[in-house]
Subunit: 337 residues, 2 copies
């Protein structure tokens, strides 16, 4: 009897010694979505993921087709008072100004250098494009990446005083992790510049550069006299990854229709529409509604940026789940209490 | 003594019961590159992978930067007598002909329908583009994918009688597997149509659709009256992923300079050049030289397709490794003895 007892203990110890590793592989001891309040939104997300990833479920989606796409501005990180990439461009204009004395008398540069963003943007799309092309073209991709990295490391937000890559939404980072833990591939699909994002998104969201789809300049391969090579960004638009451009960008880059799409503005409407009107598997459309004036910003239908109008009108028709930021999220930013 | 002995046996059994799983995670019991003959080429590949993936090595490359790019035509699958995608386009012309009676009198269609490929291509690039646009545009991406899948499943090669996706190079498939087992991400970077390849490459090479870079048409998002949505391929070129286009395509799609690049023609020259002239990590350039007239085809400098001229001239200068197909490969196709 005592012998059996000893055996049992030793067997138990041995099993204990090797079981944690195996368990860790099957299901990590992590609580997902911990910054989400319990409620209909969190439940809808978890129900979708559970039913589409449970073997034998009628709604099962094979791993190869688990494609999830996320807008970035106002969806994974904040976008107020204006798109952060525009703030980067403005800072670049200031940095470049000493080499361009002519800008003192030339719009939109003059207004920008005088700190009047509103006047600078009075020139509409043309002025905006000029600012972006001046700061995002005419240099090698390595030089551009270095300038973005420097800005991300040093610049801070006018309201929070935080670095911009700290102003990411903690619940969305957890949603990305939750999906990846269930073998979804997570992609960014943003109107923002693809190579602006690629510099910092892997660290912020765990999304590698090649899973980022965005707007882009044309580029050219160049060989220098010393034999060194580079890809140079031209001051010419290549692709605008916004609105009806998002399904096209996804098609060209990913080559598959997503089963899960997440956005926050009418720029994401067509991406969600394309995703959730597909035949076959169940699909999930997710809209982030900025309802939290205290911890973040409250805006939707009349906003000068990140306008959400058509999306709110049609969410019910398409069966999209709407996140109410104020009520659905325990915290907004990682630095929140 | 007997008790200890029993314990030892039980302990052994328990350890045995849980150890195989753990070992399988560390290092699968697979012999890589088994279709490669031992020799300088195989050794160069293995030396590079070993030194760049061994922790503590001066040449160590972090996992996030292990990007490997592969040309497709003549590099992962065969390309003689002409690019297989052109054979697909010709078959499509024949399928579409009953709806286009005017083709009987219109080049290049007339010549194609009469089986005279040479005459059809006498119109040069313009004729080729016309054939490709007629068969690769003006339909939804789903319709196009279905036509490619049908062709891959049914069409056979005029010389071997095999399906085209059987005419892949077994040693290259093993090289892809070997790199992935060492945490390299493997991408296709081809002058061929990106959505032509995406239909069948995952099954053939284990490369998912979103890791395929290629030439493309422009596309448009469309909503039908019944609310269904599609991305439609237009009869307009978007991007040619060949020659100096390859570094640009890699930059736009992957966003990182590869550390390993593999090709077989002068269309791959700039991709290898951009890869192996980079600073920092060690890099590897690999050229496949078609030297095997018996098991495959022998061609290089004067070939009408897959011409390799500049690459052979400059391989030594850039330190590229050249595969001699006849001597380096034990077998060419998976169906070879």
């Amino acid at each position: 009897m005592k012998k059996l007892y000893t055996l049992a203990i030793i067997s138990g110890l041995l099993l204990f010694a090797c079981s944690p590793k195996e368990e860790a592989i099957k299901e990590p001891a992590v609580t997902y979505l911990s910054s989400w309040n319990d409620g209909a939104t969190k439940r809808a997300i978890m129900d979708f993921v559970t039913k589409t990833t449970t073997e034998g479920s009628a709604d099962f989606i094979p791993v190869a087709d688990r494609i999830a796409t996320f807008d970035n501005d106002g969806n994974l990180w904040a976008e107020q008072p204006v798109y952060f990439q525009l703030l980067f461009a403005i800072d670049q204009i200031k940095t470049m100004a000493p080499e361009h004395p002519e800008w003192k008398n030339e719009q939109p540069y003059k207004a920008l250098l005088e700190g009047d963003i509103k006047a600078a943007l009075a020139g509409g799309e043309k002025a905006l494009l000029q600012i972006v092309m001046t700061t995002h073209g005419g240099m090698s991709n390595d030089e551009f990446a270095a300038s973005v990295k420097n800005w991300i490391d040093t610049a801070t937000h006018p309201k929070t005083g935080k670095h911009y890559n700290e102003m990411i939404y903690q619940p969305m980072v957890e949603l990305l992790e939750y999906l990846r833990a269930h073998d979804f591939k997570t992609f960014i699909v943003s109107g923002g510049g693809v190579d602006f994002m690629r510099v910092w998104v892997e660290e912020a969201y765990g999304i590698p550069p090649y899973q980022v789809v965005g707007s882009s300049n044309k580029a050219r391969f160049e060989v220098a006299e010393d034999g060194s090579t580079s890809v140079v960004k031209l001051q010419e638009l290549n692709f605008i990854d916004d609105k009806e451009g998002k399904p096209v960008g996804i098609y060209q880059h990913i080559g598959q229709r997503p089963v899960f799409a997440s956005g926050n503005s009418d720029g994401d409407y067509q991406m969600l529409q394309w995703t959730t009107t597909a035949k076959g598997y169940p699909r999930f459309g997710l809209l982030l509604h900025h309802t939290d004036a205290e911890r973040e910003w409250a805006y939707d239908r009349e906003s000068h940026i990140g306008q959400l109008n058509k999306g709110l009108d049609d969410a019910q028709k398409f069966g999209w789940t709407v996140i109410d930021m104020k009520n659905d999220w325990k915290k907004v930013f990682p630095f929140d209490e």
